[in-house]
Symmetry: C2
Subunit: 309 residues, 2 copies
Amino acid sequence: MDLSKFAGGAAYVGGRFAPIAEATIPVTDWGFTRSDAVYDVVHVFRNGFFRLDDHLDRFQHSMARRRLNPGEDRATIEAILHRCVALSGLADAYVAMVALRGRPRIAGSRRPEDCANHLVAYAISWIDVIPKDVQDRGAHLWIGSTPRVPDASVDPVVKNYQWSDLTTGLFEAHDHGFDTVVLCDAEGFVTEGPGFNLFVVKDGKLITSDRGSLHGITRRSVLELCAELGLDASIGPIPRALLEEADEAFAATTAGGVMPFARVGRTILGNDRPGPISSRLKAAYWQKHDEGWHRTEVRPLEPEFSSAG
Amino acid sequence: MDLSKFAGGAAYVGGRFAPIAEATIPVTDWGFTRSDAVYDVVHVFRNGFFRLDDHLDRFQHSMARRRLNPGEDRATIEAILHRCVALSGLADAYVAMVALRGRPRIAGSRRPEDCANHLVAYAISWIDVIPKDVQDRGAHLWIGSTPRVPDASVDPVVKNYQWSDLTTGLFEAHDHGFDTVVLCDAEGFVTEGPGFNLFVVKDGKLITSDRGSLHGITRRSVLELCAELGLDASIGPIPRALLEEADEAFAATTAGGVMPFARVGRTILGNDRPGPISSRLKAAYWQKHDEGWHRTEVRPLEPEFSSAG
């Protein structure tokens, strides 16, 4: 099989495997026209998935909550992800799985119940949410003025593409010369940023938000690391003032791991560099990767799929 | 030119015209993965656009608010819409224009400022939001328990695809045996439904919501008709109780015009049929269409585009 066509990335779409450049959806798919889709992203690090089962668990939860059922069972989805990575030949990859509402089976129907749900998956080159050089100096975090969409309106635990409030915040951050943004809710509590959970370090204790936030899998990894390292860490409310008076702060996300901030709004944290606890957690996070923590080796190409390649 | 391939609908995508079946976007387009897109829909009725300028005005406003600039100027967008309809051969069409964020010009960038925005447009067969037979008996409207996303988080005046709260409400309505849904905001005021503004009639006066709602162009048409017919109509707050005690209620949307409700939740309106004022406005709305109100004739195929067909 000629794998060169998959060099830029490999996808599963419409029930078959294709080069990423050919992975498209119709402009009339409700996954697009109603943003009626859920997704998840898992990291492949040196030919191994990180916490693959946890991402599959969350993806299944998200699909169930939105009544999306593309038909592929969990074992099949898992096999598809393995194959996308294997086809791409990427040792380090950003691997996405997406369930879309699709289009009505009955022409003219406007009922989501009538739609043919479908699965898209792909493996592409690894991307950090925050560029490496910015991570090294410590990223600058803007506190956005747009309130995060309330949990009661859109459940943030169901991983979704409705990023409008986050995108508004990103523009505002960039306009002010900052790298990224975190949003507060209407009551003034810190929630999350575009693609990451936030941790605050104050007086040696860590806290991450209990509201307006995805239940991040990197967040879970950080909490596990804290337990191992004997650090006091919890999930709870973060008033905006606590973030503004933090000793340290960092982002936690699949797409980058632990990424320290050096500034929050007009506040310079510590020495205007990544803080010591953040840096220790970042080092531990990647050290554990080296040791094979929560690792699932990527399977070689399986012959039963080969006709579709 | 062989137009048969456009019989199911015609699209403009990636800078060229194509049959609707070939109109796709990449699965990695931020228009999809961040729902970072705005759109508008105009009705073609018997070979004429209805209020084309108003839809183009609103589309331009939406693009500006989201800092989207696909490059095509207004006259070009207008010409593209004309050509999509002409290629499709449809006398009655649902004509969409969409501006998408696209993908970063710089590999690995996570900045929306770095993306190559682009335009998609298409003409497909006409669809009513509510099926004709349901409109005739009077649709049954459920008042959803999910609060509408607040205006402060996502501006509802910018026509967008972030329908999660509306979709949640639609499922709830269908679960209860209702046809469609309207959402209230967190303060208990009525907003809009999936794809329509709501009008309430009480003691001979009409009111449509001043919050959580698109500035609908059909809504504007209804307000103009009310002025002509000497009906008292206004834009203002609608407490949930006012809707529950309404004499009549109807939806206003491009995709269907004026569509009366016969029931709101457990309340039967009037004789469990479309009410007299709603029915009068519906008749006037289509009567004015017959008379060429706000009409722009669809242009025949223009030779300067023909090579792209």
